[in-house]
Symmetry: C2
Subunit: 596 residues, 2 copies
């Protein structure tokens, strides 16, 4: 059975003990954000996801969305759940109070996002898309559009989408054909077909606000001729309420491997009324505000599913009796030992645990930087936080989703044959997790973003936001009783990352194919080093906390043991990655397409 | 779209050029097996799978099997396809002519098995199970049972199953409860419930022959008290034709992640008539004849799906236009370049290719040894072949299925969002491939078999069948113009394998948990070294053949380039594996179950 309880203890560890949430209140707009308040919010969120969302996860998968004559129905229960979600004010927790939001810091809201992804990934996509559209609009829309749309979107009575993909263009948006004709009233008539539009049509909200990429008549060819438009399903009337139906229509939904409860729509725009968001031909910039926010969210999806798979696997490993411990029966009173005694089951659970907790810690670090870049009073600190976030966005997206899929598959493996049948819900995790490696830019595209944009930006300035703290930490803890043995292997892996960075900077400058050939392994190497750094830091905190009076030593000891496991068993991948990277592009690019 | 053409050129390379099929005719019973005959058989098989089986793969997945009142219906078209398959004589190709089979060597039949797995994995399971049951019966059943059942099973008009699992026991068969009561006529009355029985009930054959594990009344507890029984669905009448319905009934089928066209049945035995196969309480031995054969077949399933995913990905990568080559447009006449120009797509395709062709070569080596152990006149050669097969069985099963799932997922990734929707069939490969890591002993169990049984057997004798030829090859080719640069990295990886073997032998002897902790990574390390050895040997053959007059140099050059890619990019994993292994069990086993 799908087992999930929000890991509140670990979340508190990451937020309060590792990343120091007590300093959040010093940032702009957060004066009331205390650890106690945060804990109360997290506990309420935990109730919501366990009582309202998780119970609909398997049934939503089985039932899926249905399409009929342009109307999309979400699975039974989704509507009520969404109402509860909106009425609880959850939709606006991360939004600006100016538009009715609660203005909570990312450090907190990202944890709630994780809970939602664990409990019901398909459901979470609806508000997730709305939030992405909110981000793009709040940064780029003219004030009048903001005033008309944002309050409804923050409230959650209107939802949002992101309409990029067309049948012939996904990654390469320069090819897109949807056009926008200027109208005398200053609006635009949008015409074209979009596919793969998550939440493009559904029955959860009274209106849907599409952000649509399209070309103006005088647009230059390619990616520099794309503009962004806001196209609502219903045109708001003078009273601000949904009025006339706009010329946008859902013409079908996709049958997918997973996330069945999320509608993936084919959308047809037929002279639909839209308004320009941002400057003409600068649509990609505006879209990237949304995209960057979404990419971090997709990373969170990987972590969320990975955590749910882990908890479900642990529950089964504790209760399934099969075989005896290799070192002698652990429960001679039972017909067999629970499978958690077997080393290979341990290996599986520890792997999942080490990746999940490592990713949660890293996500917390990124969230803190999201807060700093938005709210710090110090421009230097804001800039460093921006650098760091820009650098880590592709890593979080690709690494977390690769690991989320891996963890879902590992969790299923613990169940054996029982994992492959539908009843236990483990195979749903595998199917659901798989999409996250693809959408919002495939993980290969993330890797290219890292080596092609983030690495060379400002002659490597972004890197410093990561390299400096890691290097300082390693240097400072070589002789630390608990952390010393961990920073040894971390230092080696970090050395490989530095070598790989130099390799790409040098070779990639002369030949972009060399950078491309190294990209995926480089992103992974960066990721495993980043997780290693998080584990070393977590071990340090745990070592300090465990000796405090009344400390929960079992929790801290588990942290330290898992840190050791990470260094022992998972970080060695770094050697393989550097080995592969330094081989260069030669054999990878040797074949003529006809030879495949 | 699912694209699949049997890779006949590569199969001929493996069979004729790499493993020397011209010597097959020197083995017992194979005097007529010439390379020309083999090619003709493979071409006919290729027709069968592309014309009859592949067209039913996607539709079989969509429709699935249906259950009603004990009756299971296979998807539309399966019955006709099965009839064509049986009428073509394909069911008995690997069986003994004594029972009506064609007695083709494994070197040939395993390639046909691969084709079937590529074309339609779910369909292939029906004859696959029959063959496994055939193997067990032909080795262990009394002559009278053989005479009554084998001709029908070889012909394919009766099919077979393997009834092991019960709700509370899968891996740990010692817990099983199904009982067998001796009857006055020498038969047994079998009573109990089995689950996860592939092909347990269906509409393809007029009878189904279940091999059932059960306990005799005087059975010792645990695994040493299990006997094997043959329990047909219909009791054969005096005329040998299916007569009275036996007390065995399908009570339901599972809804699974994939292989929807294969029925996975809950079976109820209610005093069903059965006959003992092999000795009382020695059922596991008989079952293992079947299981070992099945484990190799499941490995083939991984390879089969991996190959189909590869071909489908290549087809899409050649035709999908998106973006421009990093080094400048390759097709300025087109709106964009085909995605095969991008390094990361290359990396993906080369990875799939290197694993598939490497696995095919390794499977060919194992097949040759299957033939030798059965047909060599030299007892020493037979014993070495047996050692080698015993050693490689868990490796082939686990490595090939891990890689098959990886390749299916990589193939899907090439399609981006189009891979996640059902239309292109790529997500089916992922769902279908996943089961192979689980059934016939999870891959973790394979790893335990390798370190716990195969490594220590006869104080390491099995290992020699692999280590000696690899070592000899490396030593002999250090200065070879083409192979020399490949055996360098191979030698390093092989060194890591030797160290890991010593580590496990030493530590595992004192503490079985240490062997268990190393098992999965050790199997993988063994596997990647074995593939590396295959690639070095293939490169050698290619280097020799490419200079022959009229040689297909494009093919041989691609072989050599792929060998380089394997050493450059995939073999480096060995370093990470050895790094993980040598860390030992300490951090893996540190947590108390309550700490998870």
């Amino acid at each position: 059975m799908q087992v999930y309880q929000p890991p509140l203890r670990d979340m508190r560890f990451v937020l309060h003990e590792l990343h120091g949430s007590d300093t959040l209140k010093d940032m702009k707009g957060l004066s009331e954000i205390t650890p106690d308040l945060i804990d109360a919010v997290l506990e309420e969120a935990a109730k919501l996801v366990t009582e309202v969302l998780a119970p609909l996860n398997a049934s939503g998968d089985t039932e899926g969305c249905t399409y009929e004559n342009g109307v999309v129905r979400t699975p039974k229960g989704f509507k009520d759940a969404y109402r509860t979600y909106v009425e609880g004010g959850w939709n606006g927790i991360a939004c600006d109070p100016e538009w009715g939001g609660q203005g909570l810091p990312a450090s907190v809201t990202k944890l709630i996002e994780e809970m939602m992804c664990s409990a019901n990934l398909a459901f979470g996509l609806y508000p997730g898309l709305t939030h992405g559209a909110y981000v793009a609009l709040s940064h780029h829309a003219p004030q009048e559009l903001k005033a008309r749309f944002l309050p409804k979107m923050v409230e959650g009575t209107w939802s949002g989408t992101m309409c990029l993909t067309e049948p012939h263009c996904g990654t390469d948006l320069g090819l897109l054909r949807t056009r926008a004709e200027p109208q005398p009233d200053g609006s635009y008539a949008i015409t074209g077909n979009k596919i793969f539009i998550s939440a493009g049509e559904h029955d959860l909200t009274e209106n849907i606000v599409h952000l649509v990429l399209a070309r103006l008549p005088d647009a230059p060819k390619g990616i520099k001729g794309i503009s962004l438009f806001l196209v609502p399903k219903f045109l708001p009337g003078p009273d601000g309420r949904p009025g006339m139906r706009n010329g946008v229509m859902c013409t079908g939904i996709e049958h997918k491997m997973g996330i069945h409860g999320s509608s993936t729509c084919q959308m047809s725009f037929d002279g639909a009324t839209g308004w320009l968001v941002g400057e003409p031909h600068k649509g990609m910039r505006a879209m990237f505000s949304m995209m960057n926010s979404e990419r971090l969210s997709v990373g969170t999806q990987g972590l969320g599913v990975g955590e749910a798979a882990y908890q479900s696997a642990v529950a089964y490993a504790r209760e399934r009796l099969q075989g005896r411990a290799l070192s002698g029966a652990k429960h001679p009173d039972l017909p067999a030992d629970p499978i958690i005694v077997h080393p290979d089951v341990r290996r599986t659970l520890m792997t999942m645990r080490a990746y999940n907790e490592g990713c949660r810690a890293l996500a917390g670090w990124v969230s803190r930087n999201l807060d700093l870049m938005e709210r710090s009073e110090d421009p230097e600190e804001r800039r460093t936080a921006e650098d760091f976030t820009a650098l880590m966005t592709p890593i979080v997206k690709a690494l977390f989703t690769d690991l989320g899929f891996l963890n879902a598959s590992l969790g299923m493996q613990v169940y054996g044959g029982h994992g492959y049948i539908r009843d236990h819900g483990m195979e749903q995790y595998v199917r659901d997790a798989r999409i996250a490696m693809i959408y919002e830019g495939t993980n290969g595209i993330q890797a290219l973003d890292l080596v092609g944009r983030k690495l060379p930006a400002h002659t490597g300035r972004y890197l410093r936001a990561f390299f400096h703290p890691v290097l300082d930490f390693i240097d400072a803890h070589l002789d630390h009783e608990v952390v010393g043995p961990l920073v040894g292997p971390l230092g080696k892996a970090f050395g490989a990352l530095q070598l790989a960075t130099g390799f790409i900077a040098e070779k990639g400058l002369r030949d972009p194919d060399e950078a491309g050939a190294a990209a995926t392994e480089y992103l992974r190497l960066f990721g495993v080093v980043a997780l290693g750094y998080m584990w070393a830091r977590m071990a340090k905190v745990a070592a300090e906390k465990r000796v405090e009076p009344g400390a929960d030593t079992a929790f801290y000891d588990a942290k330290i043991a898992t840190a050791r496991f990470y260094m022992d068993r998972l970080l060695p991948e770094a050697a393989a990655l550097w080995g592969a990277i330094k081989a260069g592009k030669s054999s990878m690019m040797a074949l003529d397409p006809a030879q495949f």
